[in-house]
């Protein structure tokens, strides 16, 4: 494939054949060399074929092979004449990350760390199937979750009213239509609200290990050695079912609308078509389920940590720093060729990164920019970055989302054989509980790329800049 270097961190796949725009990949030379071996660059090129795509088909430095769209892919579609594609969002609709920060310091919690992780593991369901028995959703409840998102949980006493000020879209997409979420999807979700799931999802107790930008960290309420909690989870079976059903519809719809696609998984329909509108309404409802899911889990995490420390929940000072979506399609406004355009931005493994002063940057952070949360693997670190003007101008206000795997699950299990990973992690000061032993092996730190490399590229490219590094001390997983 033809690839031209634009500058230190940008590579162009020039428009050719049926491509409507160029592809642009943010990466360094070493990453680009690695990418030659998989299909992800071809996927960037394939996305450039979608009707109504604006600017370029973009990929962030954590780009890797996905279903149809690459993971780390960003595509902005004209809201009037463009298409929407479920593959540009992914199966786990509104998979995302929430960060909470406390008033506690590392030394205050270290002696009780095991107790804290045990409480978290007992109170926040992980792994197969069901959420907590004390949260079962009636049909009315489900309607509330799907239309109101995080606010539904807060009304039920699962959180604080001002949590909403620090969640992307205030924890609810506006165009959600619960009636468009099938009975099957609701049934998959009915018992799963407030559950982490499995795979790379996690809940971590962390501490602030490094501060790179003092004024912005202070605006985010972060200080060195502070205890934080990070939650990485999404819309569970409900979102998976919505994606699966609409992919299926879109395969036929793409044929019907005469859209020629290089890969069936890019199946799509015009945003204004009945199929496009149906997907967008159902996707927004599933996204709201995910916002509510992270809200419920963060409430239980606050309770669990306080209980383990033997104090009232208010005494830990936990508050939401921010909550981001990294698998989503949203309507946002950008200047393109000097004109204001409404764009349906598909972010599949990409995080919004809005600058200071933007009306969509949440009010508490409007002077500094939107917090960007980038989770890493369970043995190393995660990052807090801040959004920039450059991202707004170049990438539809988007940046990277995480590390990405480098070993298959089987390779990871082979690599772990004979090692006690739990003990290894404990020696590094990280206490872990997981529902399945296989998960710990498959999710071993070495199975992932170093997220610091990804963060370095977006920092140097100016798509978002480093604010703080967080290191895990307690982990629960599925």
């Amino acid at each position: 494939m033809k690839l031209e270097r634009i500058d230190k961190h940008r590579w162009r796949i020039p428009r050719s054949g049926g491509m409507l725009v160029d592809g642009i990949v943010y990466a360094d030379a070493e990453m680009i060399a690695d990418l030659q071996n998989d299909q992800s660059l071809e996927q960037v090129r394939n996305v450039a074929h979608l009707p109504g795509i604006l600017g370029s088909s973009l990929a962030m430095p954590d780009i890797h092979w996905g279903y149809g769209f690459p993971i780390g892919g960003v595509a902005g579609m004209d809201a009037e004449d463009g298409v929407v594609s479920p593959g540009g969002v992914g199966y786990d609709i509104n998979c995302g990350v929430r960060l909470m920060a406390s008033t506690l310091c590392r030394e205050e919690v270290s002696p009780q760390l095991r107790e804290i992780v045990t409480h978290l593991f007992n109170n926040v369901p992980t792994g197969v199937g069901e959420g907590r028995r004390d949260l079962r959703l009636s049909d009315d409840d489900m309607r509330g979750v799907l239309s109101q998102g995080a606010a539904w949980a807060i009304k039920r006493g699962l959180g604080e009213a001002d949590d909403l000020d620090r969640i992307e879209e205030r924890g609810a997409l506006p165009n959600a239509d619960p009636n468009l979420v099938s009975a099957r999807a609701r049934q998959r979700g009915a018992t799963q609200l407030g559950s982490l799931g499995s795979g790379n999802h996690f809940l971590e107790v962390q501490y602030v290990a490094e501060i790179y930008d003092e004024p912005v960290a202070a605006a985010f309420g972060l200080f060195k050695d502070q205890i934080t909690v990070m939650i990485h989870s999404g819309s569970r079976g409900l979102g998976h079912q919505v994606c699966q059903e609409h992919l299926r519809v879109m395969v036929d719809a793409a044929r019907f609308y005469g859209i020629n696609l290089p890969d069936r998984q890019l199946c799509c329909a015009p945003i204004r078509s009945p199929e496009g509108r149906a997907y967008l309404g159902a996707m927004a409802a599933a996204a709201n389920f995910a916002f509510a899911n992270r809200q419920v889990m963060s409430h239980w995490a606050r309770e669990s940590i306080a209980a383990a420390l033997g104090v009232a929940p208010g005494r830990t000072g936990f508050r939401v720093v921010y909550d981001v979506c990294h698998n989503i399609a949203k309507f946002e406004t950008f200047q393109i060729d000097g004109k204001e355009r409404r764009v349906c931005v598909h972010r599949k493994g990409s995080t919004r990164a809005y600058p200071a002063g933007h009306p969509q940057t949440p009010a508490p952070y409007r002077d500094v920019g939107q917090p960007v949360l980038i989770p890493g693997d369970m043995g190393r670190y995660s990052y807090v970055l801040v959004g920039t003007e450059k991202a707004h101008a170049q990438t539809f206000g988007s940046t990277c989302h995480g590390a990405g795997r480098k070993m298959s699950r089987r390779q990871a299990k082979r690599a772990v054989r004979g090692r006690d990973l739990i003990e290894d992690l404990e020696r590094r000061g990280i206490y872990i509980r997981a529902a399945g032993m296989a998960t710990i092996a498959e999710e071993m730190p070495e199975a992932y790329k170093d997220v610091a490399d990804v963060v370095r590229i977006v920092h140097e490219a100016g798509l978002s800049t480093r604010v703080a590094q967080l290191r895990p001390i307690g982990v629960i997983k599925g």
Partner: protein, 143 residues
Amino acid sequence: MTPQGFTFVDHTADVAVRLRGATLDDLFAAAAGALTAVITVPEAVVPRRSFTVALEASDLELLLVDWVGELLYRFETEQLLVATAQARLAEQGGRWRVNAEISGETRDPARHPIKVLVKAVTFHGLRIERGPDGYETLLVFDI
């Protein structure tokens, strides 16, 4: 290839299996067996209850995704694990149908440890091809 008609293929982020069957009926039965083997230890799943499934789609690949998706839905909502599946495929008027009799059991955590949980069945690399020995395709599960 196992007698069940599938083998695991190494995959960086997710789980992939290669399915093979002398007939389309066998290929679909192999897909059901593969789902069970992805989720848990298939030898520990025995037929205790049965049910039927009937699905229709405009082509065979869509039908295969619907078929495995149906079984995944049953697992997530009823904890149902498939022991055996007898599938009968038929084409009529350009559409494909599957009628199947399935037997299996409700998951018992003591006997059925979870290997991984499947989010969805994908279209990636999915192309049912006919060779001299029957039918074959890759099937990738999103984990």
